[in-house]
């Protein structure tokens, strides 16, 4: 009798590729070339950041992965088949007429999930982001940071394989952003989902990621990939360490060079 598969999960670094973009180009109807020969491979359990100036096509790349936008050129490959995706927008994008619990429940409702089971999932998801007591509140009653938490809870409620985040903390103040960075890392560390995180902040990308993909200005393509070989869990000690400073310098230099190649902007 064959042995059951080992319950030991693979180390994230050794994960299989979950999605790959090969030579992807995107030209918008008005002729703007957002992406050109863009290559990206993301492995299971990985935390990858796309870093670049605004307008470099990093959001476009994310939307192509999500299937919200189609590539004009190139391929999007899902080696193990396309799994569930969670998406967090730059704005919280909550339905103002529904309370937080209903907002978080939306993805399950759209999938016609069982009411009782989805109630449990919603509670779990709210617990995870620390919004347990705000299930009945309406979005407008919450602060910007809490709305973003709700948005993350909604993205997590389907237990997606891949979490896509499009500059989710860009509009928040620094104190809130640091707090949410820590909470996001805690959730990622606990769940070991794959995250693709778009940002224009060097510091944020270094703090969060295992790997940073530095992009050139329009048309965006990959300028450099930098591994951030610092152990998790990361916390405020890491944020103030010399090691962190070194990584930031390295990434900022790469970004500076990437900007220089673009010419425009």
């Amino acid at each position: 009798m064959p042995l059951p598969p080992s319950p030991v999960t693979e180390r994230p670094a050794a994960g299989r590729p979950i999605v790959a973009l090969r030579g992807v180009g995107k030209t918008f109807e008005r002729g703007t070339v957002a992406l050109e020969a863009f290559d990206l491979e993301v492995r299971e359990g990985e935390f990858v950041s796309l870093l670049g100036p605004s307008g470099c096509g990093k959001s476009t790349a994310l939307r192509i992965v999500a299937g919200l936008s189609t590539a004009s050129k190139g391929l999007v490959e899902w080696p193990n088949g396309a799994g569930k995706i969670g998406f967090v927008f730059q704005e919280p994008t909550l339905m103002p007429w529904a309370n937080i619990a209903s907002n978080v429940q939306l993805p399950l409702k759209l999938a016609n999930a069982n009411e009782a089971a989805s109630g449990t999932a919603v509670r779990q998801s709210l617990d995870r982001v620390g919004l347990t007591d705000f299930a009945d509140a309406f979005p407008r009653e919450l602060s910007g940071g809490m709305k973003m938490r709700a948005s993350i809870a909604r993205a997590l409620v389907t237990e997606p394989q891949l979490l896509l985040m499009d500059e989710p903390f860009a509009a928040l103040d620094e104190i809130t952003r640091f707090k949410l960075n820590n909470d996001l890392l805690a959730v990622w560390y606990a769940l070991r989902r794959t995250v693709i995180f778009v940002t224009h902040s060097v510091f944020e990308s270094v703090y969060l990621s295992q790997r940073i993909v530095v992009m050139t200005p329009r048309p965006g393509h990959v300028f450099a990939e930098i591994a951030i070989d610092a152990p998790y869990p990361r916390d405020e000690r890491f944020r103030t360490s010399a090691e962190y400073g070194g990584f930031c310098r390295q990434v900022a230099e790469a970004l500076g060079k990437a900007m220089a190649t673009g010419g425009a902007s």
Binding site: R63, A66, G67, L68, I85, F87, F89, E91, T93, M95, P96, W97, A98, L106, P107, K109, L110, A111, F138, P139, R140, T158
Partner: protein, 260 residues
């Protein structure tokens, strides 16, 4: 004094002043009632003819209500159709506009030729009330947050789910604004048609009473009927505003007090 007391008190004071001025103008210039009846006479007429006027009011209100209901169903329904199919929108939108811009006073006599009078009045009420519902609902359905639409796409929501769970709730403030306009317009449509029908019709609505009293130089009754009509209009407006407030109070900026 609180803001609330002022808001209720001031209009009442203004009304009292206006009625007093009216009363003294009639007294001082000894105007005959067929030129300008005093407020006292109008009030006594309102009570003396109460039964007649009340029944007429009910007739007009019923027409208004039916017209409003049809306008709401038709306007929202057509806007949903427009939203679902560009072809339907292109085909019918110009005609909805034509229906709206052609003065109802001009359409009413024509309708009265082809339709029995109560039905013609109802159609008039519907025609004027329907367009604001259509226009507002169309605007509301097409101004949904693009990121929310993307989110629904991401979770592979069906057309029906997008309409029911996203577009309609999101358009609710505009739909309610349209209904609020439609309520008043429906009354106007009903009144216009009743006036157009005039003595030719066998109607008994309030506007018909005004026309009839005009022919008979019964000016006090004209005033009494007019007052009832405006009160009905005000009541309709506030009823619909209250409905809008109740529906939106938890989430929409329009129904929330600003914190300072």
């Amino acid at each position: 004094m609180s803001d609330r007391a002022l808001r209720i008190g001031l209009p009442i004071v203004m009304l009292a002043i206006a009625v007093l001025v009216w009363h003294f103008v009639v007294q001082i210039f000894t105007l005959p009632p067929y030129v300008l009846p005093g407020p006292g006479l109008v009030a006594t007429t309102l009570i003396a003819d109460g039964n007649l006027l009340w029944n007429s009011l009910l007739v007009t209100l019923l027409t208004t209500f039916e017209g409003f209901l049809l306008a709401a169903v038709g306007g929202i329904g057509l806007a949903i159709l427009f939203n679902q199919s560009r072809l339907v929108e292109y085909s019918f939108y110009p005609y909805a506009v034509i229906l709206q811009v052609t003065p109802i006073v001009a359409i009413a006599p024509l309708l009265l030729i082809y339709l029995p009078q109560p039905l013609a009045v109802l159609v008039c009420a519907w025609i004027v009330a329907f367009f604001p519902v259509l226009a507002n609902t169309t605007l509301g359905l097409s101004s949904v947050d693009h990121n929310l639409l993307a989110l629904f796409d991401l979770y592979k929501a069906s057309r029906w789910q997008v309409l029911w769970n996203l577009k309609l709730p999101s358009a609710l403030p505009q739909i309610l604004a349209g209904l609020r306009i439609a309520g008043g317009l429906s009354l106007i449509g009903a009144v216009v048609a009743e006036i157009a029908a005039g003595s030719a019709g066998a109607g008994s609505g309030l506007a018909y009473r005004i026309a009839e009293s005009g022919y008979r130089l019964n000016i006090p009754r004209m005033f009494a009927a007019l007052i009832l009509l405006s009160l009905a209009g005000v009541a309709i407006f506030y009823a619909l505003s209250a409905m809008s407030y109740l529906v939106l109070r938890r989430w929409h900026e329009s129904a929330l007090a600003r914190e300072r």
